[in-house]
């Protein structure tokens, strides 16, 4: 659950954080951001824990978590890829980019690969319109992804070394 085994109990970590900030209920969104950082996602159990800690109805926590697209209730892969679906990227071919990334990863947008290596999502404009179409992986922007090889190359950086998915094969426009 917690990525770093050296750290103390994640629930304790979250509680310590909540104790350290003033105006707890008003800072619910901030607390959820931190919780997602610690746990990687926000399952029912974590939401329930926060509800108890802040003395809020768990329905309210769920309401907030489900409202904002930044929060996820499903575990994510080790690397999160986001294809930009902003207008500038859209007119420069982000739909095709999305299809190609989906086919290279073998999953649909919103899903995680079976080996838990990649999750794929879409994002609405990250402001790198000069590089359109773009995809971010773990926050790092990969721009001008116009051929299948460009995409393979971008993804290969996140695969463990020695996997056969290196940038080879056909290099056609997407």
């Amino acid at each position: 659950m917690c990525n770093n085994p050296l750290l103390k109990d994640p629930y304790q970590q979250l509680d310590d954080y909540i104790d350290s900030i003033p105006y707890k209920k008003e800072n619910l969104i901030l607390i959820l951001h931190r919780a997602q950082e610690i746990f990687g996602y926000l399952p029912d159990k974590v939401q329930w824990h926060i509800a108890q800690k802040l003395d809020l109805p768990s329905a309210k926590i769920y309401g907030v978590v489900s409202f904002y697209s930044f929060f996820t209730m499903k575990p994510r892969g080790k690397h999160v890829a986001n294809v930009c679906m902003g207008t500038a990227c859209f007119v420069r071919g982000s739909e095709k980019l999305q299809k190609e990334v989906e086919s290279q990863l073998g999953i649909k947008t919103g899903q995680t690969t079976e080996d838990q290596l990649f999750s794929l999502d879409s994002v609405r404009c990250i402001g790198a319109c000069g590089l359109a179409p773009v995809m971010t992986v773990d926050g790092k922007v990969h721009g001008r992804l116009e051929t299948t090889a460009d995409i393979k190359q971008a993804l290969a950086k996140y695969r463990p070394e020695g996997t056969p998915e290196e940038a080879k094969g056909s290099n056609s426009n997407i």
Binding site: I29, S69, A88, R124, A128, V134, G143
Partner: protein
């Protein structure tokens, strides 16, 4: 070091001027010794350049200069956005007045060797002006028609050093407001300047301040709306990354004018670099006593906190934003009461956009008459546009109100990419509309854009060419509003979904003429009955495309064809007589619907064709076409 009064602020400014003394002076390039020291390499740290390794370039430059023993003579600084994102990463060398474009990490050694040791320009890294084909070291045509007020410091100063901002007249407007102006005269000045909200609505800023300051209240709040959700707009982010102190200073000015002691900056969590620079600025401002108790020795106290968004477009709407800051679902509420009367935690609250704030310090310093002298009758000052899409020079441009689309797209933007022809410009994001060729010469301001069926919005300007299908674009925007509708009111929640369904039907070739009427009728109902701006403006992309590109809708509905060749279900492929019979297409066709013998022209069986387009992509003779 806390600044105790304006005297100390001015003293610090005097000391800091040395930092800027070598910037933007043009001097002939000579040897290193002849130039003033230190020289500065400003490396663009805006989002686009940052993504193309500009931090690595800066680090390598430092290392290389260090190895060559030049580190005490040449300083490397990261700035905000230069605006010319198309040619990023960009770096500018002062005082030599030379810009290098599309620099990569492998160019670093050459720059240090050729530029700093041999004292000559690195020719291959200069910008090539496409019209004259000359290499230019500075003064690119891209900047010619621009007037930078909100972006005045972006790329000019290093945003992570408060002293640079102070040297560039930073916090002087605050000092003027605190010691030489009354709150009423500040509000009057902003009203007279004619500044209007740059987030899209265009509400007069001075009036908003006046309304928030009225009546009795135990507490008032200032909120900076940095929830830039319009896809394709990135000016607010660039201002926060390139000149964060100007926003803080403006919030302080607003706070003193309306009697608020606390401010919040509501920013998207998707903007980590802007958040990082803001955090640094807030800490520096606190350290210098420009935030906190008794600022510059006056009676005015003010502090700022950052609040993070979590990915909801509707939170750009001010009441939704306030609910989000309070830790709840970001759903809008009915106005009135307006936030100016009952806002954050029930207190009067003034919500202004980042770009609006960035205009405040220059207005105070240079006067409302100066600002009101720029722009059109009802829209004063400048507007920053994020120019993107099928245009040669993608980037951030700031132009006086009243500039025409043609000037922006063709003079500044350098025209359409790949020599295609202009079809439409989309302004205002999902709330705006598509503007056709016939309005290219309309001077742009708040009113003129509304009169031609679009709106200013936050300033996204997406250029489209003849390979874009307008029905598909309308569908794209509706997909966005369906996703982002918060679900609170029925008109928006259900209405946008129905609009999207009808558009999908049309792009799949199943539309009827009745659908066109339903689209228009439903659009009008949604506009009239939605609770907030999101729903009220959601049908704009449909209404404007139906008005200006009705023939494309009719082509989809009546002729069952997509003139731009975008809508897959409507595209038909045909093999022309250019076919050499190489059989490559038959090998790749997943439906096995191409037949023909070797060295004979092939034929596609349209009944079985999946319209995947693989054949057209693979054909080496250009023999397969849409028809």
């Amino acid at each position: 070091m806390k600044l105790k009064d304006t005297g100390e602020l001015n003293e610090l400014k005097g000391q800091s001027l040395a930092l800027l003394k070598n910037r933007r002076i043009s001097s002939p390039l000579t040897t290193l010794e002849a130039l003033g020291k230190p020289r500065h390499i400003m490396v663009c740290g805006g989002t686009g350049c940052h993504a193309s390794d500009s931090p690595e370039i800066a680090a390598l430059l430092k290392e290389e200069l260090n190895q060559r023993g030049l580190s005490d003579q040449v300083e490397v600084l990261q700035t905000g956005c230069f605006g010319f994102c198309e040619k990023g990463p960009i770096l500018e060398i002062h005082p030599d007045n030379i810009m290098y474009v599309q620099v990569s990490t492998t160019d670093v050694a050459d720059i240090v060797e050729e530029h700093f040791i041999q004292g000559k320009q690195v020719e291959r890294l200069l910008y090539v002006d496409p019209s004259s084909e000359q290499r230019l070291a500075s003064d690119f045509p891209f900047y010619h028609s621009q007037l930078r007020i909100a972006l005045r410091n972006c790329s000019y100063i290093a945003p992570e050093d408060i002293r640079e901002y102070i040297a560039a007249d930073g916090y002087q407007a605050l000092a003027k407001v605190l010691f030489n102006m009354s709150p009423a005269s500040v509000i009057e000045e902003i009203k007279k300047s004619g500044l209007r909200g740059r987030g899209g609505g265009g509400f007069p800023t001075g009036v908003k301040w006046e309304l928030t300051g009225q009546g009795e209240a135990t507490q008032r709040y200032i909120i900076c709306n940095a929830d830039e959700g319009d896809p394709g707009a990135f000016m607010d982010r660039s201002i926060l990354e390139g000149d964060p102190h100007s926003v803080l200073e403006a919030m302080l000015i607003a706070g003193s004018a309306i009697g608020a002691t606390h401010g919040f900056i509501y920013i998207r969590a998707e903007y980590p670099l802007a958040i990082h620079r803001l955090e640094i600025s807030i800490n520096q401002a606190r350290e210098y006593g420009l935030l906190g108790e008794k600022i510059l020795g006056s009676d005015f106290s003010f502090d700022v906190d950052i609040k993070y968004g979590a990915g909801a477009f509707v939170c750009g709407e001010e009441t939704a934003l306030i609910h989000s800051i309070e830790g709840a679902r970001g759903e809008p509420s009915v106005k009135p009461p307006f936030p100016a009367q009952e806002g954050l935690w029930g207190k009067p609250t003034c919500v202004n956009n980042v770009e609006t704030f960035a205009n405040i310090p220059p207005i105070i310093l240079r006067g409302s008459d100066w600002f009101a002298g720029i722009g059109t009758e009802k829209s004063k000052g400048t507007k920053v546009f994020a120019l993107a899409g099928k245009v040669n020079n993608v980037g951030l441009v700031e132009v006086p109100m009243g500039t025409t689309l043609r000037q922006i797209i063709f003079d500044i933007g350098g025209g359409i990419k790949n020599h295609k022809s202009f079809k439409a410009a989309q302004t205002g994001g999902p709330s705006g509309g598509c503007i056709p060729t016939k309005y290219l010469d309309t001077p742009i301001d708040y009113e003129s854009l509304i009169s031609i069926g679009s709106m200013m919005g936050s300033g996204g300007l997406i250029v489209m060419d003849d390979s874009d299908c307008m029905v598909n674009i309308a569908k794209f925007f509706l997909e966005f509003t369906v996703d982002e509708s918060c679900g609170r009111c029925t008109a928006c929640r259900v209405g946008t979904k129905r609009l999207h369904e009808i558009l999908t039907k049309i792009t799949e070739g199943k539309g009827t003429l009745d659908d066109l009427d339903s689209l228009e009728q439903l659009s009008k109902i949604i506009k009239d009955t939605s609770l907030c701006g999101l729903g009220q403006s959601a049908p704009n992309p449909i209404l404007s495309t139906i008005e200006y590109f009705k023939d494309e809708y009719l082509a989809h509905i009546v002729d069952k064809s997509c003139p731009a060749g975008v809508c897959k279900s409507l595209v038909k492929y045909k093999i022309t007589d250019k076919c050499k019979g190489c059989t490559l297409c038959t090998k790749h066709c997943p439906a096995n619907c191409i037949s023909g013998s070797v060295k004979e022209p092939h034929v596609i069986d349209e009944e079985r064709c999946l319209k995947c387009g693989v054949c057209m992509e693979k054909c080496r003779f250009g023999a397969i076409v849409h028809h």
